[in-house]
Subunit: 364 residues, 2 copies
Amino acid sequence: MTDRLLMGPGPSNPYPDAVAAFGRPMLGHMDPEFIGIMDETMDRLRQVFRTTNPLTLPVSGTGSAGMEACFVNLVECGDTVIVGANGVFGDRMCEVARRCGAEVVRIEEEWGRALDPQRLLDAQAQHPHARLVAVVHAETSTGVRNEVAPLRALQDTDTLFVLDTVTSLAGIPLEVDGWGVDAVYSGTQKCLSVAPGLSPVSFSPRAVERITSRTVPVQSWYLDLGLIANYVAGASRVYHHTAPVSMVYSLHAALGVVLEEGLENVWARHQRVGDLLQSQLPELGFTLLAEEGHRLPDLTTAWIPEGLDDAGVRRTLLTEYGIEVAGGLGAFAGKAWRIGCMGHTARERSVVALMGALREILGA
Amino acid sequence: MTDRLLMGPGPSNPYPDAVAAFGRPMLGHMDPEFIGIMDETMDRLRQVFRTTNPLTLPVSGTGSAGMEACFVNLVECGDTVIVGANGVFGDRMCEVARRCGAEVVRIEEEWGRALDPQRLLDAQAQHPHARLVAVVHAETSTGVRNEVAPLRALQDTDTLFVLDTVTSLAGIPLEVDGWGVDAVYSGTQKCLSVAPGLSPVSFSPRAVERITSRTVPVQSWYLDLGLIANYVAGASRVYHHTAPVSMVYSLHAALGVVLEEGLENVWARHQRVGDLLQSQLPELGFTLLAEEGHRLPDLTTAWIPEGLDDAGVRRTLLTEYGIEVAGGLGAFAGKAWRIGCMGHTARERSVVALMGALREILGA
């Protein structure tokens, strides 16, 4: 067995308590004791999402299943949806929306730059009947934090606000209720520091109302939130699928770690560690990629120094030093790196280990 | 923490090696070492499915996600699909197919009785352009084993053969290639004795050809097998979602346990333990429910004795003896029990423990 310091875009190294929880004896998914753990997990999720939404639960799939759950439940064929696209995950939202039969209005921004939220609000003003505006809070492909709090203004319209928080939940400040987010999804393998496999989601009362007033059933039975909510959170727990019991144990435990440290302390730790990394990378010839003022602390992107052998150095880091970092996606492939400091990995010691290894490899 | 003897319809008690594997250090989902584990997992799945299908992999969701993956990939709007319906999971297939826009031809049989495979073949003869015939091998809601080997005759038609093996894989004889099954899905939490959370699937070359010749994209991006296959099994491993790394570790380990014991020995053990349970239940006044000759050994259904307090006795079993059994679904609620002896739970000692506890509770 090999172990790694996981400084890629996820999975991060799990919190030790999240690993230990996998050893908890298996319970039936309808066992009152498991239902208690699930209830507590949903309550803890509400705390990290900063929401009082009753419909807050872990979808039984990875972050992309959470994305799809938002679109298939909220969108009906022929709806207009407005999507901010400045990276891989904005593009993915466009594609998922199209497969729901949506007319997609794509608000594009250059990769590495943040979207101006006013452009999304303007697009909504031009398409006042748009079903939703969707945007990525933290773009894992570019290291950019989009400013999304101003989209709270959508609360004064009939258009819902959908937010991807896969790389922001429990890493950087996020206020689901404070920002008027109607539907939000995340993943477990980033700042929550759990294995990949679950997607925490939360839906506002007006999003729920939109779902219950659909005229056509949700195209996905597996991701039909009406059925899932009756199973996971309903008074009578009507059988739908079988919840991933052990993954829920692990998520439950990791949320406990986060809340014990204190959510704001966790945010501050991610910021401090990200700042440290971003202050040191230029010393080795890296150039920070994401727009200044919009850099994620938990996922740093940087242009690699000229002449550095991208794949070769990453391979040496992995095999000789046990450290994983990731290459760039799309146009950034071969030219940039993505370095994660997420969850349990967001420690000063991770930055020290990476910089030490890089100094040795580069002879700097 | 509470532990249980899990004799419901799943999850079963995991193989100890499957639990231990959760402790394996986290690896990146693109780490060459994880890719090796995934490759080995797919190879082991081929062995338990008894297939050489290259497209054999664990879908990142529970068994119902595997069901949906089969239908959304193989069915296009307006297709006719023929579904055998003699329990909850046949009904679920009808519903999932309908949401794909299919015209469903429902071949119904009374709950507790097996479907005559000739009726499914006759329906195909009446609807020769049907896209697929789908049937459940082991109905978890009724304890019935449907005879499906004769559906091999569908290989001589243009209609695909889809099989639900959620409660049969690694529990009772199953021959995917030998029976000419074109698409098959299962779950991890039954006879594979892993936590719920993954759905092993396998697709024949002619099913793959059907998928690649689609005229409309698969409605689900998350379950699009073209994208998943490129990620999980393609030469260049194109990023799609993030595989549930720890769940794959656990599945990999459990498959190792099954193959080390020998698949046929595992089948024999399930049969032996099921026979033992079914020979003893009548002594306590239970009446076996499923049609004789079609009783699953791994999931026994029985009418409870008259006057027995269904919920009360099950609660006592759970809280006093730590044993979970399940009540009936649908019309069987309050009248029948479902008792699983699956995977690691399929041991004579499980039957001894359950019968001993029941004798005490019933004063028999």
